[in-house]
Every structure is written in structure tokens, then in C-alpha cells.
Symmetry: D2
């Protein structure tokens, strides 16, 4: 950390507006590339191919919305501070933690280790055995409602296939899925989180920043719910219901 | 608030995956629409026209990056909690407050009042007079570096023109710009924030949610800087420099 | 901003541990002062008198808890990221916005302007008239349940009285309350937020930082609820109930 | 999770104000207990003894301030949104992550496992061996500046001793310290984080919520720096310096 010189390869301001990843913001980017292309360029440093953009769009579209439940924290913060909507958005982003984004990263690491292994099947079997020994589910497999298949996963894998980007990560996912099915003696759903991790791997997103893509996708999802809250408020009713749902069962002070 | 029934028009889960704004997530959205189309559909409720998408892309691309300075808070939070990158992203979103997103909203409201006025020139003149009476700059005008024009604004307005979406909001912006120039007796730069507010107005984004679009755009910008921080850390050096830049000038306790 | 030299009067590290506000952290503060004394010293720069500490304690104690409703956003963020509890706490802090902390600041400013006025009664009458003209409630007055008096306000004002700190701010509060009652032709409750703003004013807290004291107080309140959530989780049930409470009423795509 | 009935033992609203942990907010708490007593009662459910309060105060006082560096993220968020100070406070809380609060929790768990062991020395030796095998420092030991002793740790342990609360956790800390010294063949500093974890253990705070106490303590620290930023702004200079410190070394687009 000490000896590495401080430097950025992302951007610099100049009299033309700004240079971002070697492109002129005004001449090469505004009006010239889509938001999805810009996202890929900014984070990964190169302009994506059309196939990579197609897969990225499919992933980002999948993760935008996750229902009213995922908007409750944001709606409540908005209610208490409608003049500072950035706080409500931030509260929603804070919900993209280990139980979701972290799972995606873990799947990404598992797929990477299968790809790197000389014996992919053996590695997949070992990974599954490790979770089972710890009595934990294998991340990316199983879904409470979608059985035998998660329709989102099927569509995502189809998009990758059609884009010609069904390569090592998708293959590793199938290898892992086979190991899961064999260990459990039945077919287990490949859920959307697993398909997304595989597709992000295919387009060159390292596991360590996958959670960032989930946040990029979820931000407009939160904004959509906040826009609805502005005209059809639900936060107060939800909060009051929560208050009533969780009764106080502690001691009561003696009346004086 | 009490009598309005609770309801959402955004989404519902079902056995096909999910329905979002009347579209099947799996059949109609994943792999079928771009992220930009999805953003518009989710927040505003209708599928955008190609022209609206073009303008939306131009706006979102413009706001992604704002240099290392805008990433410092995120980089510092990341350094202290690299396992919870959502916190670092949230810290960046919290910086999209009144001094930036709020200014955009204020410009949006000013343009709306010029559009609504019977005498647009008169209304623009009155708006400018109000800020000058309060000895405040007119939001959206002036830039420390870009004179006489902000190249980003020129490009953004050109994109709108080419998309056939240079309508009431762009016209109101020019009316307001003329009033500013007349009041100050010289030409004042129309800055990028003003051009963005006008373009968002053109594609149907209400002023009250404009700050949300700034957050959508900035999220990948933050993720890009955090991805760089993962391999080329700068946060510690920045923090130490800050510590040294701000010396303690308070009292010193007597030695015992 | 440019010409003022950068400097801090708060703290510096040194070989004795640290110096904070002119005190040795190790010799003068740890084990020597209470947390409440430290809070006052750190923020306001001087060691508080015993009377000031008593009033500060009363204020901070009052604001710690605000029921399950105020903990819902934190509990939901915790559920999604139990390994990063700081995110759940931050989400709770984000709820201390304009509708609560901001109201306290507004009351503080109103009391300051009554204190500064040559004719306090006239100023109070003018303030009340201004809110009534805008068809807004006078901040600090009225409560949905506590009538005719808020028992918390009575106790807080009693604490200040007993501490000998019932001075200009408490007096201004009563002047304002009289103006409210006269304007409405009936007695209106002085709510706890008003009493707290007056007491913080009495101990030298400027209006512009009052919201910070609310956050200080609320942080342990959030931590208490998160500690309960760790062993008696309620977040998932609340989230699912919210999902069911807000039904989807949008279009449904045709079945294919 | 499913079968446990929803319930809270924290608080309920009622016509007397509120009941918190079996106490009347108005009769038993406001003006009757200190903020530190209230913190302990709210989170842990029982009124602390005077000795427990003394130790809690010492811990909370220690963690309030951590210099300008720890305030940079908050100051920058404040600069961009001074009207929403809760966002700046939240950004500071987000910095209390795994590298600090998480370390405290890890120390707490290590001390708990030494206490629970039949052979404490053996367990301590095993813990140290585990970190050394992973080429990691033993959490809680070593400090870049304080050698051979951290003066804060000495004072904290002294406070616990004087309060009569130097029991199993402090003893486990010394056992662990001996094992560290033996393994490294020299004396290694017991840093303040270790002493704090031991003291929190002594007063009954479980490891899983220790990070919450760090956040409680840091909140006024952040508020203090924000109060200073309101009158002596440093954020802009820090941000500009950061921008200049990290030069752009990427490609430059050809001039057109």
C-alpha cells in the first residue's frame, strides 16, 4: 500500500468536459453510448462488445425490482425525511448485503474455483460436500417457489447462449448443479442469483465487485418505489401495522 | 393518507417469475429490453419511446463520474469495511444531496413555472429577480471553468434536438437563460445541471424525483471507484493527508 | 472559505493517547467523566456544569426509544446483512430527518427569534400568524394522544426548573405557547419535541446542531432493537406483511 | 423463526408517555437516570449497577473521537447536503465496520472461548497458533505507536479493577496476552480495542452486539466534527487535495 504510487485510471476533468477511461465525455460518450455501455466502461475499463452489453442488460433488468418488501426500509426513511430522498435510496442500498449480494459473490468464487481446477467435477463435488458437512445449503441452489426450475434462470442462461457467451462460467454452473443433484439425490433449482453470478462471470466481472452490480440494478428499483410513495404513500400504514404486530410483553410499572 | 387504499402499480410475484408494470419479467423484460428502458418503465410506468431512451441515456451517461473527490467518502468507508461494500456505495449516494440533486430539482421547478405561465418571459424575469434580490446565483447558470459555454450542455441539448425532444422544457431553459443574461448584462454559462433538468423534463420526469435519476447514474460511478480502490487503494493516504492538513490548535493539557 | 486556515479545536493524537478539547484522554477523561459529560465537551468545547449534565441526560433519555415502528428500517437492513450491523444502525439514523430532527431545529430557531426580539409577545404572535397563514401547524404544539398536556414535556420542564436552568428558552416557549393558545382559542399541548428544543437551547446547543443530539440519543435505541432482533427476529414477518398489505393493482400480461 | 411469536420486551406507548423495559419513561427514567444507565437498560434489559455504569462510561468515553481522519466521510457528505445532517452522521456510522467494530467482536469471541475452555492456557495458545498459521496478527495486540503499552488500555483496565469488575474477561485477556508474548518471544502491546472488548464482556455485553456500542460512542464524535465543520469548513479543501493527490494516468483521447 505504501510503495504503490497513488493514481487513477478512471477520469480527469479538463477543458473539454472530462476524460473517462480514455474517452472524451462530450465527444465519445454523451449521446454516443448507452447507460449500460457506460457502466461497463467505467467499472471494467474497456468498451463492452454488443454480446457483453446484451448479457449485462439481462442481468441488470432482472435485479431492478424485488417487490414492496424490499422497498419498506426506503419508504419509511422517505416518510421521515422527504426532503432528502438520497437517504431513502441509501437505506435501500444498505439492504443489498451479505444475504443477497454476498451470496452472489460466494457463488462467483465457487464457480471460479471450479474453472481453475484440473478436475472440475471433483472440485464441484468437494464444494458441495463442504456445505453439506456444515449443514448449509449450497449457495445458488433451491428456491421456495420455483421448482423444478426458476424461469428467470432459464431465460438468463438462454440470453447468454444466444449472445454466444455461454462459456466457462455457465459450464461451471452446470457442473456444480450436477454435483448438487447427485449429492441430494434429486434435482434442485438453479436460482436466479446463481445464473446472474455465472453471467457476470462470463462478461468479465470479478466476484469481488459483483455486489456492486446488484446495487446498480437495485437503485432504480428503489427510486421507482419512492416515486410511488410520493403519490400513494404506504409507509405510515406499514409502520403502524408493524408496531401492532409486535406486542410488548415486558413488565409494566406499578401505577402510582 | 387514511382513506386512500394501499396499493402498488409496480410489481407482483407470481409463478411466472414476476409481473412488473404489466409486463412479464421473464417473457417481456429479461433479454428483451435494455437497462435504460427498464429504468424508465419501472419508475414512470410506461415503456419509453426510442427518442426518450436516447435522451435518458445521454443524461445518465453524463452523471456517472465526478472524479476522485466524489469518491472519497465511499473509498474511506470501503477501507473500514471491505466486506460490506453496500455501505460504501450508500455513503456515496448520501453525497447526492441538496447541493447537487437539490439544485437540479429547483431548476426543474423553475422551468415548470415558466412553462405554466401565460407570460413565459415575464415569469423568467421574475424568477431571476427573486434570486438576485436574495443575492443568490440563479440555479443552473454559471460554471467556474466552462465559459462561455459548458460543452456538456451543448452536447446534451444537441442530443435532445436530434431526438426530436427539444420542446417546452428546452424552450423554457432558453427563456430563462435570456433573462439571466439580460439581468447580468453578459452571457452566463448554461451548466450541465440545467441542461439535464431540462432534458429530464422533456422525457416526463417530474422535478420531485429528478434527484433519484442522479442517484441511479452515480451508483455505477461509485462502484467504478470502489473497484479501483480494491486494487489501487488511495483511501488511507487521503485520510492521513486530511489528518495532517487540519492541525489541532486547541489547548494542550499540562504535563503531569 | 478560502482564506480561513484549516484547523481543528477538537483533538490530536500524541504519545499520551490523545488530547481532546484540551484534556488528556487518558488522564482527564477515561474513568474521570461520564459519557454525557464527554458528549457535551466534545461537541460544545467546554466541560458542562452539573446542572447542564442533568438537563442533557433528561433530553437524551427521552429520545432513546420510539417503539418498534422506528426500528423497522433497521431491522430489515439487519436481516439482509447481519454481518454488517453498522448498516442497520445507519438506516435508523437516516430516519432522523426533517419530520423529526428538522422540526426540533425549527422550534429552536423560533425560540431564538423570540429571545432576540424587543417585543417577545409580538414576535410570538407574528410567528403563530405566519404558520396559520400557511395553514400549517405551529411546530412543537399539539399531539394526537397527549391532551391537554404531554407528560414528557411536563417532566422535562420540571427537570430544567429543578436544575436552575429554566431561563430564556423555557420562557420563550411559554410565550409562544400563550400565543398559540390565544390564536386557536383553546389550550394546545406543548409536545416533547418543543420541550427538548427549549432545554437544548438552555444548555447552549445551537439550533443548527440539535438534530445531531437526536441522533446521539437514538443510536442506542436502534442498537437495543437490533439486539432484540438477533434473538427474537421480527423483520421477516413485518416485511412479508407489508408485501401482502400493498396489493398489486396494475395490469397483468396476457398468458402466452 | 416461524413458530416463535412476535413480541418485544423493549417498549410500549401508553397514556403515561411510554413504558421502557418495565419502567415508566416519565416517572422512572427522564430526570431519574443518566444517559449511560438508559443505554444499558435499553439494550441489555436491566438497570446497571454503579460499577457497571462506571466501566460503561469509561468504554464509551474512549471511543468518542478518532481524529479528523475518521470524520472525513461525514464532513464531505455534510458539505454536499447540509440540510440533511442525518446523512452525514450515517456515513460516519458506516465506517464502524469490520476493520474496527468487527475486530472488537472477534476479540470478544476469543475471550469467550478462553473462558469456556477447561484449559484456558491451552485454548489461548491454540488461538494464537491459529492466527500465526494464517499469517495474521492476533486481534487486539500490537499498536503502531504505543509500545510497550497502550496508555488507554492501562487506564481502562485500572477503571475495571477499581470498579471491582476485573473478572473472567480481564483474566482471559491476560491469559491471551501471555500466549501472544510467548509465541512471539517478546512483549506485544494490549491495544485499546482489546481492553474495551474485555470490559464490555465484564459488564455483560455479548460479542455479537459490541459493534453497536462502538457506534453509540462514535455518534457524538461525528456530531462534534460536523458542528466544527459548520463554522470551520475543511471538507472542500480535503476533497480538492484528494483529487490532486490521485492523478489520472489513463489514456487521453486524441484531439479532434
Amino acid at each position: 500500500m505504501k510503495t504503490q504510487p497513488l493514481q487513477t485510471r478512471i477520469s480527469t476533468f479538463d477543458e473539454t468536459g472530462a476524460t473517462i477511461r480514455g474517452k472524451s465525455l462530450v465527444d465519445d460518450l454523451i449521446g454516443e453510448v448507452t447507460f449500460s455501455q457506460m457502466i461497463y466502461l467505467h467499472i471494467l475499463g474497456t468498451m463492452p462488445t454488443p454480446a457483453q452489453v446484451r448479457v449485462l442488460d439481462a442481468v441488470l433488468v432482472t435485479l431492478v425490482d424485488h417487490g414492496v418488501m424490499a422497498s419498506v426500509a426506503s419508504r419509511l426513511v422517505y416518510m421521515s425525511s422527504p426532503d432528502a430522498i438520497q437517504g431513502a435510496i441509501a437505506a435501500g442500498i444498505l439492504g443489498m448485503g451479505s444475504q443477497f449480494g454476498g451470496v452472489m459473490e460466494e457463488i462467483g468464487r465457487n464457480l471460479e474455483s471450479i474453472i481453475a481446477a484440473q478436475d472440475p467435477q471433483g472440485e464441484a463435488t468437494a464444494i458441495v460436500a463442504r456445505y453439506r458437512a456444515a449443514r448449509q445449503p449450497v449457495p445458488g441452489f433451491g428456491h421456495p417457489h420455483f421448482r423444478p426450475e426458476d424461469p428467470r434462470s432459464l431465460k438468463l442462461l438462454q440470453v447468454a447462449e444466444q449472445a454466444g457467451l455461454s462459456g466457462r462460467f455457465v459450464s461451471a454452473l452446470h457442473t456444480l448443479a450436477d454435483a448438487v443433484d447427485k449429492a441430494l439425490g434429486k434435482h434442485v433449482t438453479i436460482n436466479a442469483t446463481a445464473a446472474i453470478a455465472a453471467l457476470l462471470g462470463e462478461i468479465g466481472v470479478p466476484g469481488r465487485i459483483m455486489r456492486g452490480f446488484a446495487a446498480i440494478s437495485r437503485t432504480p428499483g428503489i427510486v421507482g418505489h419512492l416515486h410511488e410513495e410520493q403519490t400513494h404513500p404506504a409507509a405510515y400504514s406499514i409502520g403502524m401495522t408493524a408496531q401492532e404486530m409486535v406486542p410488548y410483553v415486558g413488565e409494566v410499572p406499578p401505577r402510582k
